[in-house]
Amino acid sequence: MFAFLNSRPAWSLDEFQRVLARRGERWYAACVRITGDPGLAEDAVQEALLKAWTRRDQFRGESEIDTWIHRIALNAAIDQVRRQKPGASEEIAEDMLAAGDSPTTVHSRAAFGQDLGRALERLTPLERMCFVLKHVEDWHLDEIAAELNNSINGIKQALFRAVRKLRGDLQQWRGES
């Protein structure tokens, strides 16, 4: 009834650019984890961003835009994976590691990141998506099942396999370090 009280002036390009500057990294990182491929992740974020721009009059605040784009970008990333053959990327690129860390931190993070990156690479696309959506993105099992067009039991099994494989790699990495 009083919807106009919640309304705000239409988002300007500058305001949208600021949201992109502040939140873009989180969207991109989530999509890289889903797709395992920086190029596909960029495409997914772009798709979500441009969709959000066309609906900019529907968002009341930055967090609403953030949540919406994050979700749409993940969906787009999942679609990208569906369209691609499994195992698209080599590893997390060096320039994607956080800037401003000491060389030692960068080195150890890179080592662990490469290891984890390779471990994620060895997962099937379904296992990787289930793990990232559940463990990193905190989706519910039924949401994942619906999005991936699979049964909840199928999602559980993929998640179990993913965690088993990743833990195995983790133990190996710990033993070697």
Partner: protein, 240 residues
């Protein structure tokens, strides 16, 4: 019997019946060995959560920013042309309409995309020219579209100007790379020379008149190049 899979679902707090959750909870209280397994699982999951932060490369951030600006520009383009008609007088309006007519004419004539569609990048065409005719068509549309996008440039907000220049430069580079790959070194050099001109339009010290003056210079050179392409479409772009 309680398996690790049960413990995983217990950790995630879903996928188990309330009875099963109660059983696991009681077993964890009673069984030290199971508790050790549980703690190891939690430690591993925690380690897997501490993957390094993935930073967005600056080039990706700027491409996304430029595409957003391009989307905004596409929406505003008809308004820009209308407002220009009121404020700039007939010579500039005539030039703008001539540019628009040229772009539409090329698009219709070639059965290709509209100028608005051209706001999207042309990576496939530019990255891998399959034949010189399609490359030339793409190049002509790129040049016409560049002219159109720069209409009203001096009056745009600084952030939008920067983003638009970044996007056009990126597209221009793709065409220059494509030209180079197909052995058109001279054309590649000509295209690269546009880059400096484009970037000079975004110098922060320029006032509106200075920006407009550089835009007109670029407009002229874009027009010359389009004319050369249009006059001799059958020949190789080496003749540019």
């Amino acid at each position: 019997m309680i398996r690790e899979e049960d413990l995983l679902l217990y950790h995630y707090g879903e996928g188990l019946s309330s009875e099963r959750r109660a059983e696991i909870s009681a077993a964890l209280d009673a069984d030290a060995e199971l508790r050790a397994v549980w703690h190891q699982l939690l430690a591993d999951l925690s380690a897997l959560s501490h993957a390094p932060r993935i930073s967005i490369p600056a080039t990706v951030q700027s491409r996304l920013s430029a595409r957003l600006a391009a989307a905004a520009t596409s929406e505003r383009r008809p308004t820009n042309i209308a407002s220009r008609k009121q404020g700039w007088g007939w010579p500039a309006s005539l030039a703008a309409y001539a540019s628009l007519a040229l772009a539409i004419g090329i698009a219709i004539g070639l059965g290709m995309r509209s100028p608005v569609d051209q706001a999207e990048p042309l990576p496939l065409l530019a990255d891998a020219p399959k034949d010189s005719a399609s490359f030339e068509r793409g190049l002509r549309l790129h040049l016409a579209d560049t002219e159109l996008q720069l209409v009203g440039f001096a009056q745009a907000e600084p952030a939008a100007r920067t983003a638009l220049i970044a996007r056009i430069v990126q597209e221009n580079r793709m065409f220059a790379r494509a030209a180079e790959r197909s052995g058109e070194a001279r054309l590649a050099r000509v295209l690269r020379s546009f880059e400096a001109q484009l970037q000079s339009m975004d110098e922060q010290t320029l006032d509106t008149q200075g920006i407009e003056s550089r835009r007109e210079q670029l407009d002229f050179e874009l027009g010359v190049m389009q004319t050369k392409l249009a006059n001799d479409p059958s020949k190789s772009t080496l003749n540019i």
